[in-house]
Amino acid sequence: MPLSRAEIDYVRDGIDQNMRNDGRTREDYRELTLDLGVIPQATGSARARLGLDAWSTDVIVTVKADIGAPSAEHPGDGRLRCAVELSSASDTAYGGRGGEARATELSRALERSLLGATAGSSASLSAHGEGCALDMSALGIQRGKSCWILQVDGLVLADDGNVLDALSMATRAALFDAKIPKVTAVAGPNPDDPAELELDDDPEECSRLDVSGVPVIVTLTRVGKHSIVDATKDEESMRDPRLCVGVDATGKVRSVGKRGGGGIDLNAMCAMTRTACECGKQLIAALDEAHAKAEADAAVQAAKGDDDDDDADDAMAA
């Protein structure tokens, strides 16, 4: 719903006074709820919600590991690709082809933060740059022949603003959750032939990804003389310029992208980047804690789920 002039003035004035409509200060995030392993058929998955109930942004991100061919530039490395869908369940405006451009924008922003580069069209796999967040060499299987391809799929279920940050948090969590099966390449007599691949189904043998270098995206919205984090849909609807900064655990900038209308003063932009780094560092610390907690919760849930199945009475014979 668009805001009236009077409401916009009130929101802006509130940001000026460091008291936003939901009581937050300019640097406050909404409460984050993180669940891991929500989509069992994926290699790794996470659901992130910012805010509560009807005032929340809700996203699911899955990571799927498939075996494919490595790129010519990096024959010994794995590959990664991101795609985001905006569910029409979140907003009727995303019905039909409604959200396509925005979904592509989000996919590319996510990909850029992870790979340090985006190359090629949306159809082809991106090559990763120097600033890649994951150790891609760990995803290589047989040099030049086969490697793991990580497909990161995001789905936006509810949009109350700041979708990109939520997606990046869920992506980091889903990568953390991912369990890559152990694969052994058994070379044939001719070293040029693709090796036979043996997959080990044993969950104990799975390897985990090192997510310590994976950034989160902190989006700062410039409103007047100030910038705010975690803007709600109402705050976003004012069409102010936004700066999306990918920040890693050490507070380094991984990617920067400016969106929205209007321009940002150079000095202001530097200050915003610095704020984003500070926020991002704290955010990652909180996320790492959340990962551990969510994993423990998931283990408890799984144990409980097994119990449920035992005395299931929902399944009935007709």
Binding site: P40, D53, K64
Partner: protein
């Protein structure tokens, strides 16, 4: 491949006339006017209902009744093999149309003339029976939005493999090549059949028992859905019931 073992058990350990475990949740997307999630085994479908609202497109407006718009989309990660499905592929369009027609026969559309009801279906996990699960999720979401309906429409599928009629096929069984019947009924109105679709060929002798089994399955599904609705309503009722109204 053997779909029914000598002991009469199916691949996932069910008996032939047994549904998978079903779970219903309502109000899963609180920002929508109504929402629900329906799970049957590993199939998991979410639905959000927006409206009834003033019809956006004047040309579609009906002075006598509400129009229902339905959209079906399947998340790229919903199947075992990743497949990016657009919203506009033929299967989604057909499914959305089938669901729309079924809902038009169920919702009391004449109560909100000149409005539109948007039913947005999102598949999160597809492991067979997506058609039925989508209808069930939509019905639950409409009930959650408080939109009046003639009956709790429930949907179920049945098939015929290894000479046995099987209820509520999973993904593997759907690929088994036997006849598949998808049915949705108004079970409390004398099993009135609202949707029926078949895949693959079958003789009338086979079709009849399979179809009858699917109809029986709908009654079971309806019971589960009703229980979930009552449970959810009772939670809302208590929260509100505490007030001195």
């Amino acid at each position: 491949m053997e779909y029914v073992s000598l002991e009469g058990l199916r691949l996932d350990g069910r008996r032939p006339k047994e549904t998978r475990q079903m779970r219903c949740a309502m109000g899963v997307l609180p920002a929508a006017d109504g929402s629900a999630e329906f799970r049957a085994g590993n199939t998991r479908v979410m639905c959000a209902v927006h409206g009834p609202r003033e019809c956006v497109n004047r040309g579609e407006r009906d002075d006598e009744r509400a129009i229902i718009k339905c959209e079906f989309s399947q998340a790229a990660f919903s199947t075992g093999e990743r497949r990016a499905r657009g919203k506009g592929d033929r299967r989604s369009v057909e499914l959305a149309l089938v669901i729309r027609q079924a809902l038009e026969a169920t919702v009391l559309v004449h109560l909100a003339p000149r409005s539109e009801i948007n039913v947005m279906i999102q598949v999160l996990q597809a492991d067979g029976g997506v058609r039925a699960a989508a209808i069930n999720a939509a019905v639950l979401a409409i009930a959650n939005a408080g939109i009046p309906m003639k009956d709790t429409m429930a949907a179920c599928s049945a098939g015929y493999l290894d000479g046995t009629p099987l209820l509520d096929l999973n993904y593997v069984e759907e690929g088994g090549g036997g006849v598949r019947v998808h049915v949705a009924t108004h079970a409390s109105r004398g099993d009135k059949v609202v949707v029926v679709q078949t895949d693959n060929k079958a003789s009338v002798e086979v079709f009849e028992p399979v179809h009858a089994l699917a109809v029986e399955g709908c009654a079971v599904v309806q019971k589960v859905m009703r229980e979930a609705m009552i449970e959810h309503t009772s939670i809302l009722a208590t929260l509100r019931g505490r007030e001195a109204l």
